[in-house]
Each structure stands twice: as C-alpha cells, then as structure tokens.
Amino acid sequence: MVAPQLQQPGAGAPEGLGHEESIPASQCRCGYVAAPPAPFCPRCAGAMAPFQVPPFGTVLSYTILHSPPSGFSAPLSIALVELPGGVKFICHGHSDDRRSLRVGRQVRIEHADDVYYFATMSLAERARLLWSRRGETRHKLRAILRLPVRWRP
C-alpha cells in the first residue's frame, strides 16, 4: 500500500469538492494507515503516530440494514469507503436514495459528533441518521441541533 502523502486537508480533492475536515487516523513506520487511529499497527504490530486522511474517497461496498441492532432504527446504511492512499473507512451513507449509493461512486465524508457520513446527505437525512443511531436521546438531540452549523448548501 502507498502511504498517503496528503498533509494538507483537501489537497488533491476531485474537482468541485470542497476542503473538508480531515479524518483522524494513525500511521505506522511501515506505511500502513488506520482510520480511526489504532493503538498498534494492524499490519505489523508497530507503534503508530497521529495522522490525517482527506475526507473523500470511493465507495467499495455498502448495505442497507432493514433489521438493525437494538438501539438503531431502520433503514440504516453502512458504507465501506476507500480514502486516499488505500485507507478503508466505515461510515454511513444514504438509506433512501439508491442512486447516491453505488460501488465506485466518489463521495465526500463529513461528521457530526464523530459520526461520519456522506457529505451529499441533506439536512433532513443527517438529522434522521443521527436520530436513528444508538445512544442517549439528549446526546442525539444535541448533535442534531448542531447540524445546521456544519451544513453548507
């Protein structure tokens, strides 16, 4: 795997995609990058240093759960996205718009309270997603109330 040499967030982003907040990760001396950060290198067991990965990539696979685990509500979308440098990352995708959820699709990723999702999701979708996750009601409400601040047209 080639180590991502992208220290500037958004550097090399596809045309038309904005500078998003980098995704926290960790990098080993062997070059392997894990997102989120891992205490030991998943490849060689070496020590890892903090690293950042640009928040865009290609959808490798996805699913829509109709029987999610207790605490979550259906439909719940989970996607596996390949970030620059070959880093694979789990996040949420659209759960109602099939055209936006396709293998090979380029996506930007944003987050609210460390919950990562496709940046193309509308405000309503984001609110629904945060509400459908497991967690305390007041924490979910707080995340939803903070959403408009992060939202850009």
């Binding site: 894990a34 997102a35 989120p36 998943p42 490849r43 490798l60 696979s61 996805y62 699913t63 829509i64 759960l65 109709h66 029987s67 999610p68 685990p69 207790s70 979550f72 719940l76 989970i78 596996l80 694979k88 990352f89 789990i90 996040c91 949420h92 293998v103 090979g104 996750r133 497991r134």
Partner: protein, 375 residues
C-alpha cells in the same frame, strides 16, 4: 506428530429444542462414546461460543465433566466464535497427535433459542470489530458488504445466492438431524424479506440449539484426520486486504492440504460454513475447489449438489441443518465421518476423502479439516 483417528461421532438433532445446554452436550457425547466403543477417555474438550450469556452457564468444561459423572477427568473450554466446534476438535487433535493423550472426547454445543432474537444478535455481534459495531454493523451487515463487493467484482446474482438455499434445504430434507427438513423453492427464497441488502432472510442461517461430539484416538480406526489447518485475519473488515475472499480460510486450507499431502482436486465431499448463502460460494473458492469468481457457475451446473462431482453441504449446511454457533464446526466433521463410513442415509454420497471449513467471526478465526478413510 502421530496419526490421529476419529473413533466415534454423535450429535443431537438441531433446531428449537427444549433440552438445556448440558443435556444436549451429554446426549451428543454419549452417542460419540457409544459409537467409538471407548470408555477410557483421558480428557474432555468442551467447545461453546457464549454459554454464559446464551444459556446462563459458566465454567462449562468443569461443569460438563461433573454433569456426566466424570468429575476427575481434566476438561478444557475452547472458544473461537462460530468456529468453536472446529477449534475444539483442533485442540483435541493436538493433544492426541502430540502423544500426550491416547483417547479424548470433544463436545461442542450451543443453546440459543432460549433468548430473544435481539439478545442473540447482540451476543453474535461481539465477533465484530467494536468500531464497526458502533456504526450498527451486525454479522449480516458485514456479510452484506462482502457480498456486494463480490457481486461487483464477479458474476453473482441474487438467484445464485437463492440457489444455495434451495440446494441446502433440499439436502436438509434428507437429514433427520437438520433444523429445517422442508425443501424450499427459488421464489420463496427470492421473495423473502430483505435483512441487509442484498441479503434476504433465506440467505441467512437460522438460530438453533444443538450439540455434536467426537472421540479422537491414536488407535487406528476407519477415519483418519489427514490434515488440519487454522487461519486468521483482521477482525475489522476495513483492515482486510480482500473483500471478495477470506484470507483466514485460504491460510487454513493451505496448511491442511500441505499436511495431508493432498490438493483441492482430491476432495470428494465438503461441508462449508454457509452462515450466509454467498459464503458457501466464496468458501468453495477459498479452499481451492473453484477459481475466484467461478463458484456460482459450479453451483448452477449442479456440481455441488448431492448428485454432483463435488457435493457441498450434503447435511444441509448451516443454512438447513441449523447453526447452534459453537456446535457447527464439529457437526460438519460428524457429517463427513458419516459420509466416509457410508452411514449418511438418504443423503449419502460416494467419498473416501472429505473436507470441512468452519468460520469464526466474519472469517477472522477459521479452520479447515481433511478426513479420509484409512484403508
């Protein structure tokens, strides 16, 4: 390492059973000892994934030895998720192959239907990486991610996946030990409700109760353990090299073939871990029966059906025999022993060499075992 033989096997029927875990384990164990004709075992290996939460039983190795009236026999609990039964067999094999023990009993079981389905799902999801679980990932969810990636790389249609269910239910209908003994149609499978797209209900194995057992010995018997392999991979899907095959199975198969001095083409029957229908296809490629991407075609041509040249899951597999998680890996071995000895009744195939493949977690802790008739 000395030669190890399977002296006897036994199992309970799989399904929604009234009996508690200890009684299921005892029933299977007694059947295996009777089959072996051996009373003087020196140790007991007990495999179960999570009897603490699923059956409210702890310390199950010691408890089982006491329950069956052999409190002074050393006993050990083995756990590797859904491959625990195969792991128990592996551990028992190392003890006999090393010469430390002459005869040992391995029992494997799980009691799952006593708990509500969401609780069982929560227990099973502990086999998943905690971060991926925090996004709502369940076993079917990760299986769906693998399936979608495979569908994108190779030819695999929902109809192919449904065909695995149809084949295995047809086999299960011939197995008196199976959880489901009713054939199903392609339409039934294709019209069942979506669980985790693209997986439907009939692509997923059931929640079952049941136990299996085997007696291993150094004394020459009809069925010999020819090869055995244990392979592992990242718990987290995001750290895997490949999404369309399982490294843990491939590594276990390589080791088992090398030890047996055999290759995939020497195998005449197999039990593969079909917890999700596409996994039977992927496993058939991972153990080398078919080239990557060719498993579905072999299935469609009937090569893996009971009458085919390489029958897969004659027992009905996890899909129809059922999946009491800790028991399945050993139940696969029980089935192959019955097949090799010509005792598989209405689902009998012709074989002198057979293979089992068991998956722990989302293929993070897997086993491949090769058995053959010794004369």
């Amino acid at each position: 390492m000395g030669d190890v033989y399977v002296a006897g096997v036994g199992m309970t029927r799989f399904g929604r059973l009234d009996a508690p875990l200890l009684s299921l384990l005892a029933e299977a164990g007694a059947a295996a000892l009777r089959d072996a004709g051996i009373e003087e075992i020196q140790a007991i290996y007990v495999a179960a994934m999570d009897p603490e939460e699923l059956a409210d039983e702890g310390s199950v190795a010691t408890l089982f030895a006491a329950y069956v009236g052999r409190p002074r026999l050393p006993s050990i609990r083995i756990e590797t998720g859904a491959s625990s039964g195969a792991a128990g067999f592996f551990a028992a094999w190392t003890a006999v192959a090393s010469g430390y023990h002459d005869h040992v009993l391995v029992v494997a079981g799980e009691k799952m239907t006593g708990r509500p389905t969401p609780e069982v799902a929560a227990v099973l999801s502990r086999m998943i990486d905690p971060y991926e679980r925090s996004y709502g990932a369940t076993m079917p969810a990760l299986a769906a991610l693998v399936t979608r990636a495979y569908m994108n790389a190779y030819d695999l249609a929902p109809k192919d996946m449904a065909q695995v269910a149809v084949k295995n239910h047809a086999n299960g209908a011939r197995n008196p030990y199976a959880h489901f003994q009713r054939p199903i149609t392609l339409d039934e499978a294709l019209e069942s409700r979506l669980v985790a797209e693209p997986l439907r209900l009939y692509d997923c194995c059931p929640i079952s109760d049941g136990a299996a057992a085997a007696v291993l010995t150094r004394d020459p018997r009809r069925v010999r353990v020819a090869g055995i392999g244990h392979g592992a991979d990242h718990m987290a899907l995001r750290h895997r090299d490949s999404l369309t095959g399982f490294r843990a199975t491939q590594a276990a198969a390589r080791r088992a073939y090398a030890m047996a001095g055999r290759g995939p083409r020497d195998m005449q029957v197999a039990e593969l871990h079909d917890a999700f229908t596409p996994f039977e296809i992927i496993s058939s490629e991972d153990v080398g029966f078919f080239e990557p991407g060719q498993g579905a075609r072999a299935l469609a041509r009937g090569r893996t059906a009971l009458g085919g040249d390489l029958p897969i899951n004659p027992s009905g597999g996890l899909k129809a025999r059922g999946h009491p998680v800790g028991a399945s890996g050993l139940a696969q071995i029980v089935e192959i022993v019955w097949q090799l000895r010509g005792e598989a009744g209405g689902r009998q195939v012709e074989a002198r060499t057979g293979l089992t493949q068991s998956t722990g977690g989302l293929a993070s802790n897997n086993f491949v075992t090769i058995l053959e008739t010794s004369q």
